[in-house]
């Protein structure tokens, strides 16, 4: 599936390993939070990059103490109408200062990408929008009313810049 990051389409070097499948010996892998919880020692001891995929009901607080050892967090949107992933992203980026890749996976549509970007996502796995559309969606608004993970200066600050 096409992966778009920082305004470019890139190759995906990551593989998600479902809970019932064996871990591959090498390569960059992501696992579910449940698997990370139960096999954490083995996973963190590997010489490869590790990522975790969060489902909407997962609590990102569980990852807080391991964030500097994770290179990727995928946030899953089984349905684009389920907005829990936006709160997960804001918590990871703003409260826990997670600095690795934050990727939206699942039902990722062009018209949600602006909100995702503002909430702290920097990569989008989407079959429903091409690069041109994603870049367009990211630039639909030049001003914002509230602070968020992406760090854009909200208008209530711009209004009072001396």
């Amino acid at each position: 599936m096409p992966l778009i990051k920082h305004g470019a389409e890139i190759d995906d070097i990551w593989a998600y390993v479902p809970d019932e499948a064996d871990l591959s010996p090498g390569g960059c892998i992501t696992v579910s939070l449940a698997r990370f919880r139960s096999e954490r020692e083995i996973l963190l001891a590997r010489n490869t990059d590790i990522g975790v995929r969060l489902d909407p009901e997962d609590d990102p607080h569980e990852l807080e103490e391991f964030l500097d050892r994770l290179q990727l967090i995928e946030i899953s949107f089984p349905k684009y109408t389920d907005g829990r992933g936006y709160s997960q992203a804001q918590l990871l980026r703003r409260r826990f200062n997670y600095a690795g890749e934050l990727r939206a996976v699942g039902h990722v549509l062009r018209d949600q990408i602006f909100y995702m970007n503002r909430s702290g996502f920097d990569a989008y796995e989407t079959a429903r929008a091409d690069l041109h559309e994603v870049v367009e969606a990211l630039n639909e608004y030049t001003e914002v009313y509230q602070p968020a993970a992406a760090g854009q200066v909200p208008v209530y600050r711009k209004r009072h810049k001396g």
Partner: protein, 552 residues
């Protein structure tokens, strides 16, 4: 009132361009209807029984003459010559073609209006007291904070896909005219020493499971309000139910985990906010927004106005209208005027393009260019000098909007019902009209006094039947419409959910049954100063239920 600066204007015009693109992608088939749905919904576009409906935001119910004129032009050019003012202080157009909606939005943007977040599972238009800034009993004007909340909630990236829609109401008077206890969040402005703050109620709502909001915080200082709201919203976004649309409102979360646990979750999230996460709205921004709501310069009258008193003495109809449709103003010699959109036999909340033009003209000529929409679906001129009332009355009368029934029994809240809405199970408008007919005699309704009848055509309760002194709920039973009556609801500071009186009535039986209930009240009240709702509270519901089901 608030005026857009360059930033507000840019955001709204970018929205128009974005929605134009979305409509084009839908019309070309690139977007599936299912994917278009949440996009159009966040812009107030519903697919109704007959056509698309466009709901335009009227933030906290305030308009100026230029804006109301523009709504009139849209009604005339894109609809069928009328608009429908709603219980959320918005306006709906029922017959706009999808391909025209981007042009309508562009036209609205020119007068600093939009349809952003008037539907969808996001934070909706913030509602308020329709007499805000004018009412004699007001302690603080809630509108600046409504505007601050409007801006904060507009395109909030974290809260655009909530479990369900989300409604916030703010009031600043002791008497609650904004029904804050039946909102997802109800804010009551309070003062402690020199600090202005908010009493925060969460989890109220109507619909199929009505709840009164729980008091979650007695005092949140104004500088912390937005950060506290962020904490509430995040708790709801993370933990609100998403498995069942009918259990997804925040009221269900609060009632399932309990107010105590909800309060704990919010406090925990609020306490965890780090310094760089805080909005901590700068005092100069709070001051900037407040400056737009400075009261108009009104000269207090030194005594009664001769022309006003003379016309009252000579014209009984004018005197009645002035007795009923005026609300006490802060400044001597002034009043807030309710323009009733509830003529007997009309459709509640509907206004024609010509009527909107008349009201715009009156506001510009006599009323400091300020117009409000009330949640009871009427219009209000909040600042009027008594001396101008004769002239205003004459024009209203000529336009057919001088009905003297504010808060009387014929001033009913009525949802569009089965005549327009694809959720409805039963008709509302014709039943409301039939009830109005029974109480149409002006002397009779004035004798009855303040009595709110609210009608909903289905369990979603858009007609606020749960909080009507008398509520009427239309239900469908095997293809036949029945109307369930509730008694004892109220939406004010003594908010209560009405009790179902008993089995549903056939449409034809509703007016007669309600007349028996009301006449029972007239027999049993201590005197005319005791309102229906008070007699009901004093005596209990039994005598009224008996009257409801008695044979004629």
């Amino acid at each position: 009132m608030y005026r857009y600066d360059e930033f507000d204007a840019r955001i709204v015009s970018e929205r128009v361009a974005q929605f134009r693109g979305q409509v084009n992608r839908r019309l070309s088939g690139e977007l599936l209807e299912d994917e278009f749905k949440p996009l159009r919904l966040q812009n107030g576009v519903y697919l109704q029984l007959h056509a698309y409906m466009l709901r335009v935001a009227i933030p906290y119910g305030q308009l100026n003459g230029r804006q109301l004129r523009r709504l009139a032009v849209i009604a005339r050019d894109y609809d069928r010559g009328y608009g429908h003012f709603t219980t959320r202080q918005n306006i709906q157009f029922n017959w706009v073609a999808l391909k025209d909606i981007p042009d309508v939005l562009e036209s609205l943007a020119e007068v600093e209006m939009h349809a952003i977040q008037t539907s969808g599972n996001c934070i909706r238009n913030t509602t308020s007291d329709h007499f805000a800034g004018a009412a004699k009993d007001e302690i603080m004007d809630p509108r600046p904070w409504c505007e601050i909340i409007r801006q904060w909630s507009t395109f909030h990236p974290e809260f655009a896909f909530l479990p369900r829609k989300f409604k916030i109401a703010v009031t600043g008077a002791e008497h609650d005219r904004a029904a804050i206890r039946v909102h997802d969040i109800g804010l009551h402005m309070r003062q402690r020493g020199d600090v202005v703050g908010f009493e925060v109620h969460v989890g109220g709502g109507q619909g199929r499971t009505p709840h009164l909001a729980a008091l979650v915080n007695e005092f949140v200082p104004e500088t912390e309000l937005l950060d506290y709201l962020e904490a509430i919203m995040r708790v709801y976004n993370r933990f609100g139910r998403r498995d069942n649309k009918y259990k997804a409102r925040i009221k269900i979360l609060v009632s399932e985990i309990g107010a105590e646990e909800f309060r704990r979750l919010v406090s925990e999230e609020y306490a965890a906010q780090r310094e760089h996460e805080k909005i901590a709205l700068p005092p100069e921004e709070i001051a900037r927004i407040h400056a737009y709501f400075a009261p108009p310069e009104l000269t207090p009258a030194s005594g009664p106005d001769a022309a006003f008193e003379a016309l009252k003495a000579e014209d009984k109809e004018f005197a009645r209208w002035a007795r009923i449709n005026l609300h006490p103003h802060k400044v001597e010699g002034h009043a807030s005027v309710t323009i009733s959109l509830k003529p007997v036999g009309g459709a509640a909340g509907d206004a024609t393009d010509a009527q909107m033009m008349t009201v715009a003209h009156l506001a510009e000529t006599y009323a400091h260019d300020d117009i409000r929409v009330s949640h009871a679906q009427n219009l209000v001129l909040p600042h009027v000098a008594l001396k101008d009332l004769p002239a205003i009355y004459r024009e209203l009368k000529a336009a057919g909007i001088a009905t003297a029934n504010e808060s009387l029994i014929t001033d009913m809240i009525v949802c569009p019902g089965l005549d327009y809405c694809n959720l409805a199970n039963a008709r509302s408008i014709p039943v409301g009209q039939a009830v109005q007919e029974v109480f149409a005699d002006p002397d009779y309704q004035e004798d009855i006094g303040r009595l709110h009848i609210n009608i909903s055509g289905c369990i979603n309760a858009c007609g606020h039947h749960h909080v009507g002194h008398i509520g009427i709920l239309g239900v469908d039973r095997k293809g036949e419409e029945f109307y369930q009556i509730t008694l004892g609801g109220r939406a004010d500071e003594k908010a209560a959910i009405g009790d179902i009186a008993g089995p549903g009535l056939k449409a034809d039986d509703v007016p007669g049954a309600l007349k028996r209930v009301v006449d029972t009240y007239r027999d049993l009240r201590t005197d005319k100063s005791e309102l229906f709702i008070e007699t009901l509270a004093r005596l209990g519901h039994d005598p009224f239920k008996e009257a409801l089901y008695a044979a004629d």
